[in-house]
Symmetry: C2
Subunit: 373 residues, 2 copies
Amino acid sequence: MSKLLQSTPRADGFHMPAEWLTHQQTWMVWPERCDNWRLGAKPAQQAFVDVARAIARFEPVTVGVSAAQYEHAATRLAQSRDDSKSHDIRVIELSSNDAWMRDTGPTFVINDLGEVRGIDWMFNAWGGLNGGLYFPWDQDDLVARKVLQIERKARYRADFILEGGAIHVDGEGTLLTTEACLLNPNRNPHLSRQEIEAHLSDYLGIDKVLWLPRGIHEDETDEHIDNVACFIRPGEVLLAWTDDREDPQYGLSSAAFDYLSQQTDARGRPLTIHKLPLPAPMYITEEEADAVDPSEGAQPRLAGQRMAASYINFLICNGGIVMPAFDDPMDNVAAEMIASLMPEREVVQVPGREILLGGGNIHCITQQQPLSR
Amino acid sequence: MSKLLQSTPRADGFHMPAEWLTHQQTWMVWPERCDNWRLGAKPAQQAFVDVARAIARFEPVTVGVSAAQYEHAATRLAQSRDDSKSHDIRVIELSSNDAWMRDTGPTFVINDLGEVRGIDWMFNAWGGLNGGLYFPWDQDDLVARKVLQIERKARYRADFILEGGAIHVDGEGTLLTTEACLLNPNRNPHLSRQEIEAHLSDYLGIDKVLWLPRGIHEDETDEHIDNVACFIRPGEVLLAWTDDREDPQYGLSSAAFDYLSQQTDARGRPLTIHKLPLPAPMYITEEEADAVDPSEGAQPRLAGQRMAASYINFLICNGGIVMPAFDDPMDNVAAEMIASLMPEREVVQVPGREILLGGGNIHCITQQQPLSR
């Protein structure tokens, strides 16, 4: 059994690197649950295939899938002869309760020698029995452990509930999160803000936490940071933005802007804030809602519900950015802005509506593994 | 998806190396089915843990286990603090129908550059609906593919039914098998002996097949070679032997001895044959038979059945031999003989009765992966 460590990453000289540090690969999980994904999850599966192929333009991918769907997923993800320039997409058996590798996978940490280890956070499906999105979540909580076993990486099991989508780091000591999620009593109610900061410091090797009050309106993760803001390099933050003062998101984004404007990062730098436009509000259609199998164990998907669409929900990978498109006029604006802010990377857009219908987007369904040296 | 190759290993310059070539690791599968393993498979699981730990003295191990048993297997296989000199035992999720990695896992092949690929043979549970040992075998038939995906190794899917336990090679062009298994009409009835030899040549890169007529008496695999004879180096064969002329095994071993005495290997060398004593005949007890859950889908385990016990069923690993012990006076004789024949290796004995009760032994539950260069 690959080693279970009793210390913390910081004590051992490890920290969470920024997402732009070179990756060994990106991990995903195959979507299957018919009470979350419409039409037997088939449109979502195609969307995940598109995301995996887009990432494989830049780096290897591993997709975990249940035994029941193994052959199907492996066939769909098999590379065609045209893909000879693509990196490998590996398909492995991996049980889960749903398909959000960002939140169930390990958070990888690295030390100065380039050794990589993983943090296996406790997971309670975004709130457990108090606002969580489904029950049970037992297989999800084993995902990080299984990933680390496959990679033969040492594992820290944190006595702390956290999803990977609730944090972003600059790799130089600063962590970005939201109060709406991390201070929510359905996560770690026994811990104060200071105690939470201490845990983040111990596990991620960070020195300063920046707390946005809120995230994206109607974001069912309790407003994860990875849907509203991220670092694009140390000292520079991209923030989801709308100029529509009638939109409930306006107040949320404004408050985040005001907060960030007054902060410095762990190294004392003031922050440059780039406003990334949001797409126009998006709603679940009647046809879409009707194609989800009803189930008491899962979040209802109702016609007319507003979805938490945001271009921020992209993955930085080796030389590339894989970001969602929503068939919205802002698609090009957002892509061009990201391309101009990170000119060293190629921006690839993948249709994101099917992923959004399940409650997240490209960053939520991926987890990068930094390259070991 | 790691590459599916349309050619054959031989055409691509690959061959199956001898078991003594340095391994990257050894693969196993966790025993679970209660209609084959007594007492809910718990004694067998302990025996498999003992085997995994013995192998880990010499090289890394990977154990595949169902989602249902994952936590249990991972806990049982976790290394204690005393094992600091042990290699890693990795536990991965892997569905199967039973626990015979030798027969369901890939046969690895290597080329002159040290690149390693795998052959994914067709598998029909040792005879399909015509004498096979259980139904269904769908998950077993996916094991090799999943192993190769995890290792990101290119895969040959052979249109040929073969179990890894049905073959042994010297790495220099010679293959050892039994007519009882490979010519059995429940394997590849549409192929002649010559066509079977051609398949073995194409996939394993061998030039000569040595056909023992039979294997071990009452061996339910249709008398696999890996329970009756193996190479210990090119030109030298170890053969399971009894001097008891009343034992049905006497005729089988004698015929094998006579056959091998008249053969040369692929390089024209005559063979040195070492007779390895068998333990005294072993039978399933009433208590053991009664503790197996009855099931129509599986081989019956009846009190008084003779078991196919043999010391030949050992694994050669990096610097070691892991072999079964049967609480028999011959245990020491066999171990000392093997140690004297392979003095460069350390011999470790592990109790083998619980594995034998399920129908095989240490070689049957393991599959070595040669080290890539």
